[in-house]
């Protein structure tokens, strides 16, 4: 890990020295969403309702991707999925 900086070296107001993409904030969840590709109709409800932007629609691939490094495991996607294609399952080490 790099040396922690002194107060004279950092920007004011807590301005982030790196992009939020660089902070893995999904490593403390208990349950993770697992998608059943047979049931998924690509309606994108989960993409729109994820409060953390952790579910992304990749139009060039025609696929939905769940980013588990940012997913907090809240389960909103599973709850709202109209075809019950997402199941919250206990995250394994």
């Amino acid at each position: 890990m790099s040396r922690e900086k002194g107060w004279k070296e950092i920007a004011p107001a807590g301005v982030c020295p790196k992009s939020s993409v660089g902070f893995m904030t999904g490593d403390w969840k208990t349950y993770m969403p697992v998608r059943d590709l047979e049931k998924c109709t690509l309606c994108l409800t989960c993409v729109m309702l994820c409060p953390d932007g952790a579910i992304r629609w990749r139009p060039e691939l025609g696929k939905i991707e769940i980013d588990n490094e940012f997913c907090k495991g809240c389960g909103i996607c599973a709850n709202e999925c109209p075809t019950k294609a997402i199941k919250m399952t206990l995250e394994q080490e």
């Binding site: 950092i10 920007a11 004011p12 107001a13 982030c16």
Partner: protein, 411 residues
């Protein structure tokens, strides 16, 4: 008027109107506010300017003071010049957001028409509201009259927005005593004000993309202000805020000098105002409008041959420790006036801090405290004169009867 000073126009304004007029001339981008007595006139008057098309300001009528301050922080974070006003319960409701504002280094200027806090409910003037926000990271300036209210708002934008300071600032004026009292106020031309307040400058900061960019929210250079800071960094950001306060000490004096050259008006050195202090044996330290009355009492007692003086503390945050010490260390007996109470604190906030400033003095004057004017309680010249008489008696006997005194309180 000396040759270099600018033209001024005498207007009849109360303190609130003087502040609204100063804000109008300062080319403010955003005002978000909620009305509360005795600040209401500021917001009313400013909304008239907006309705008449006299300003280009985005005026946001929020549903509470908490939201008003949140809107001000967001506006200021985009680089906009931002102004608001509040008092009493309104300022108390802002409490949480005041810390967010100073922590985000958003230089919002706020007028506070000082008023008592409930309960019991009281709409009248005292300084409990802003004194309770002492540690919120805001610069605090208290004015003596409506003229100074006008002048201080113009100065406040320069102080707050300076890239070496970047701190929010509150300008306190005593509720009703100043906010609602009509006075002659000398105002400047719009163009002169515009040149004095300048356009807000932004410092450059290192963004997460590794490049320097102006410190503001801008989609072209995304940055986050005030995100989470864990125990390994939070402390460093707080130290930066304290340093900015120290920088403000010098800047407030510099702006006071610059304004003096422009208008012929200055307020001491901007931090403290010394009145007949040079050879004074006893002195009163006061914050706000009561200083005006005390000056006439000093004149009266000087005429009678007593060596008395007054120190008006104009800037309470940052506390001008060295200026206080050098101005007071040769005085033998001092009374500090507090228009607010620190319950159980054995004296008011101003008293504590003036005593603190004198701890390292060459000699140690006797320092006593007078709590006065709570909830708008009148303090007549006759009563105020008695403070000097107490001090002169103390000078003679050398013994302090009571350190903590309540002016005009019924037993």
């Amino acid at each position: 008027m000396t040759k270099n000073q600018v033209n001024q126009h005498m207007m009849a304004l109360n303190g609130d109107e003087a502040i609204a007029y100063a804000a109008k001339q300062s080319d403010v981008d955003v005002v978000a506010a909620y009305p509360i007595t005795p600040q209401t006139i500021i917001v009313e008057k400013f909304s008239e300017y907006v309705a008449n098309g006299e300003v280009q300001t985005e005026f946001i009528c929020t549903e509470s003071e908490h939201s008003a301050m949140a809107a001000c922080i967001a506006a200021s974070a985009t680089g906009a010049r931002t102004f608001t006003a509040s008092a009493s319960a309104g300022l108390a409701l802002m409490h949480e957001m005041l810390f967010v504002c100073s922590g985000c280094r958003t230089p919002v200027v706020m007028a506070v028409a000082n008023r008592a806090l409930s309960a019991p409910l009281n709409i009248h003037g005292d300084q409990s509201d802003s004194m309770a926000q002492r540690d919120s990271g805001w610069i605090q300036i208290y004015v003596e009259n409506s003229q100074e209210a006008y002048d201080s708002i113009l100065q406040a934008f320069r102080i707050a927005e300076d890239t070496g300071v970047l701190l929010p600032i509150m300008v306190g004026l005593d509720g009703f005593t100043l906010s609602h009292s009509l006075e002659n106020v000398k105002t400047l031309d719009d163009e002169v004000v515009k040149e004095f307040v300048k356009v807000r400058q932004l410092p450059e900061v290192l963004t997460h993309e590794g490049k320097m960019a102006p410190f503001r929210l801008d989609p072209a250079n995304p940055m986050t202000m005030g995100p989470v800071a864990f125990p390994n960094y939070y402390f460093e950001f707080k130290r930066q805020q304290d340093e900015a306060m120290h920088n403000a000490l010098d800047l407030i004096q510099k702006i006071n000098d610059e304004y003096s050259k422009l208008t012929g008006r200055s307020y001491g050195n901007g931090l403290i105002e010394r009145y007949q202090l040079d050879d004074a044996e006893v002195a009163v330290v006061c914050v706000g409008s009561t200083s005006g009355t005390l000056k006439t009492i000093v004149d009266e007692l000087r005429h009678e041959g007593h060596k008395v003086g007054l120190l008006r503390l104009r800037t309470f945050r940052p506390l001008p420790v060295e200026a206080l010490r050098s101005a007071l260390e040769n005085v033998k007996a001092i009374a500090v006036m507090d228009k607010s109470m620190s319950f159980g604190g054995n004296g008011g906030a101003v008293y504590h801090e003036v005593r603190h400033a004198l701890y390292d003095a060459k000699s140690h004057p006797q320092v006593i405290n007078y709590i006065y004017g709570l909830g708008g309680r009148d303090h007549s010249p006759h009563e105020l004169r008695r403070i000097y008489e107490d001090l002169l008696r103390l000078l003679k006997t050398g013994t302090v009867e009571k350190h903590l005194n309540y002016l005009g309180l019924r037993e």
